[in-house]
Chain length 515, copies 2
Amino acid sequence: MNGADKLCDVLLVNGVDVCFANPGTSEMHFVAALDRKPEMRCVLGLFEGVVTGAADGYARMADKPAATLLHLGPGLANGLANLHNARRADTPVLNVVGDHATYHLAYDAPLTSDIESLAQPMSKWVGRAQTAGDVRRVTEEAYVASVSRRGVSTMILPADAAWGEVEQEDLTRAAVPVAEPAVAGQLHAAAVALKSGKRVAMILAGKALRSDALEVAGKIAAATGASLFSQQSDRHERGAGSVAIKGVPYPVGMAVAALAEFEVAICLGKPAPVAFFAYPDMPSSLLPADCEAIELGSASTDLLETLKLLCSEVGAGSATPVTNPFVQNEIAEPEGDLTPDTIGQALARRLPENAIVCDEAITSGGGFGKFAAGVHVHDHLSLTGGAIGIGVPLSVGAAIACPDRKTILLQADGSGMYTLQGLWTQARENLDVVTIVYSNRSYAILQGEMRNVGVNQFGKNARAMLDLDRPELDWCLMARGMGVEAGRATTIEEFVRLLDSALANKGPFLIEAMI
Amino acid sequence: MNGADKLCDVLLVNGVDVCFANPGTSEMHFVAALDRKPEMRCVLGLFEGVVTGAADGYARMADKPAATLLHLGPGLANGLANLHNARRADTPVLNVVGDHATYHLAYDAPLTSDIESLAQPMSKWVGRAQTAGDVRRVTEEAYVASVSRRGVSTMILPADAAWGEVEQEDLTRAAVPVAEPAVAGQLHAAAVALKSGKRVAMILAGKALRSDALEVAGKIAAATGASLFSQQSDRHERGAGSVAIKGVPYPVGMAVAALAEFEVAICLGKPAPVAFFAYPDMPSSLLPADCEAIELGSASTDLLETLKLLCSEVGAGSATPVTNPFVQNEIAEPEGDLTPDTIGQALARRLPENAIVCDEAITSGGGFGKFAAGVHVHDHLSLTGGAIGIGVPLSVGAAIACPDRKTILLQADGSGMYTLQGLWTQARENLDVVTIVYSNRSYAILQGEMRNVGVNQFGKNARAMLDLDRPELDWCLMARGMGVEAGRATTIEEFVRLLDSALANKGPFLIEAMI
């Protein structure tokens, strides 16, 4: 067997059995090895941003990493924006990046580049196999790092490490360090704050936003009077019956106002929330200046156990959390214009049970968001790192992880154009995804930001950079060109008809909503 | 005025008056400043790979850099693959990458990343303005580096350097060091080799492939018996009446055979040619082991002057170069199946004068290439760095640089999918580009490479990663969805009809050739 075979074996024995791929010549021995392993599911993306974003979506839902297969530095580079999002989602991803044979690097062939320098900013772990004999160790290290540190691991596989011969051997799962809860001192500090009578916000992220953890957080809140907030995160199990929690708003002014009253912030899963962007005369931290921040564990902490210990320490075990009532059946059929609000209302009223909602709706997302707490429990996957172009890939990965659940993608048009190639993968894999494109023919969020910097009259160049009309995009044609059936809605009635049909059928469908 | 205004002024006074852009919130002050400068042409790409590839194509044809406007690390990351190609083309490009306000970086906001680490592998120069007061100096350094070193300059513009106030002042063009010819010792060594009676190959790249330089190289070859070869390069002025020159073949075996006879290789504009990829039991260098390589100047050398000095030193001034005869009118109308060969023949026979041919046809390019020497002189722009997805962006940039010339894009389907968003920019800017998509529904080059590694029977996973069918892409629908008119050809007769119509009209048109 060769190094590439060994790599496949190590992946499979550790349960990594999906590989999102876009290979090139330097990875041909790896492709050949994958071809000898039909138990590995290889999924082609027609652009590497699809590959890495799908790996992110897959891991968020499967709770284990997928592998990616990327072609040297440029292939990795094309995938970096969505790896940036994965990094900010604390998602485990295991990149395999091919490289030239080790002895060929000195020749500086056209595709040579500094892969380590490209990988480092978005990876928690970067390593390189020098020989086929290295492959097992390096793959295991990459896997363990991605799982235990919850992040992107990038392993570089030179062609001669892939094609070099290596002994067959019995493989066992690599030992992954068990996640630990927050240390006792921090737990105690948090408990003291919760019992102090001070106004406390518990700001949750990552696995603290899963239903089991939320249940415990809800008990703590009910017993102590603390307020619960969520940060934009990899995956939030939300809906009717789940614990009531508010999101930290995106606009800085609103976020500051929402958190203004708190004297203590207990943050689980992520550091204390900060402004997405800096603005003249606006703060960078969203917490009040005199608010004490207690960071009770990062993404790699056992957050459920941390919450249980905290619950016990504050004596909240028998408290009853405040949960969201089910009001989906009370949501009226929307009337009037086709807008993000009416779209959100129409979707909320018919959201199927156990859906996955991938959300890259940007300025249009609030229409559904305001109903989300009262409808069937669903997983909400959001844009964590601000690098647009995650929506379609995220839906691909989520739908591959959970083939029996309906995936609904809320997609802004400008962001959707970044990785529209993912629609082809939806079609090829016949994924059960309903994509709703909010077609406003502009970078609407940036038009708002221009007004924020004091520009209200847009000239030639501002319009050239912020409008997406002239020509208008036709998402139905583009989707059909990639094998995804599609329909355009210009009224809310048309939208409802298309949505009902899409929800009643399996397989990919795209609705272009002309808002 | 603020730092962003200063940046615009410095760009314009140095003749940088095209900005390919995809901005975000952190660049809003720069967008506002650009909006105050209608003499700057801002061109939106709906993905940063379009932005950077267009800047490459523009600079290849305009012989000066364009600016790009990119949104933090992820925006830069999306543009890196085509910056890799620009780097390998030795093309001047001036990236402006926005970043958070300097004081905001410490908060590690979601879009924060190590921009320098991302930029370094593809850039010859990387710098950062810390304040508005830095902007003039940093912009000038970036500009001068990109022009004098012929490469990618990446300047990072924090939001507070953009919005900070700075004095207005009189600006003058930055002083760019004049390119020098190769040094006398190297010139003398080359001259000695040329006069030695040894078998000499002159291997040209970059500006040595412009017609004026080729003319001089042709004299040297005629007088000394040296053979002329071209390396894959930014821009090759070729066709009837230009000096006869052979390309170094892409397949390693063919390249080695083509260069086997030579005792000396004189390389201008690039180092000696090497294999694109390593293969077991194949060499990395394409030159014979005992061949002496004389590197007579890099991309930043004055190659025309170098050739003139060499011509003089070998006494070839009165020699008559061998030029390609004009045989375009003898090319027959092709008959038979629609294939890369018949497509190439049909195009060759009707290539307009002074065309620009952007070539990302990969396995399909030879059909036109074999006629290229005998048709009207044209510029040939090729994929220099092997990072696929350059074709459509390259056509955008070339057509913006040369609005009065017809741009013809030879586009493989798999590669074309990487940056298909560029079709929208073709439409928005009404660019005079005829795109020919060679639709073979596969990564054909990789299928060949799989056979090279000994796999002839493709299993489930190899087919999953190397075939582009199931579903088939419909390029006409995708093009129309982005505002580009398109037609599908399944026979050579249909192709000819579509091509005649496209050539007779101005504006973008796409032909999907079902080969």
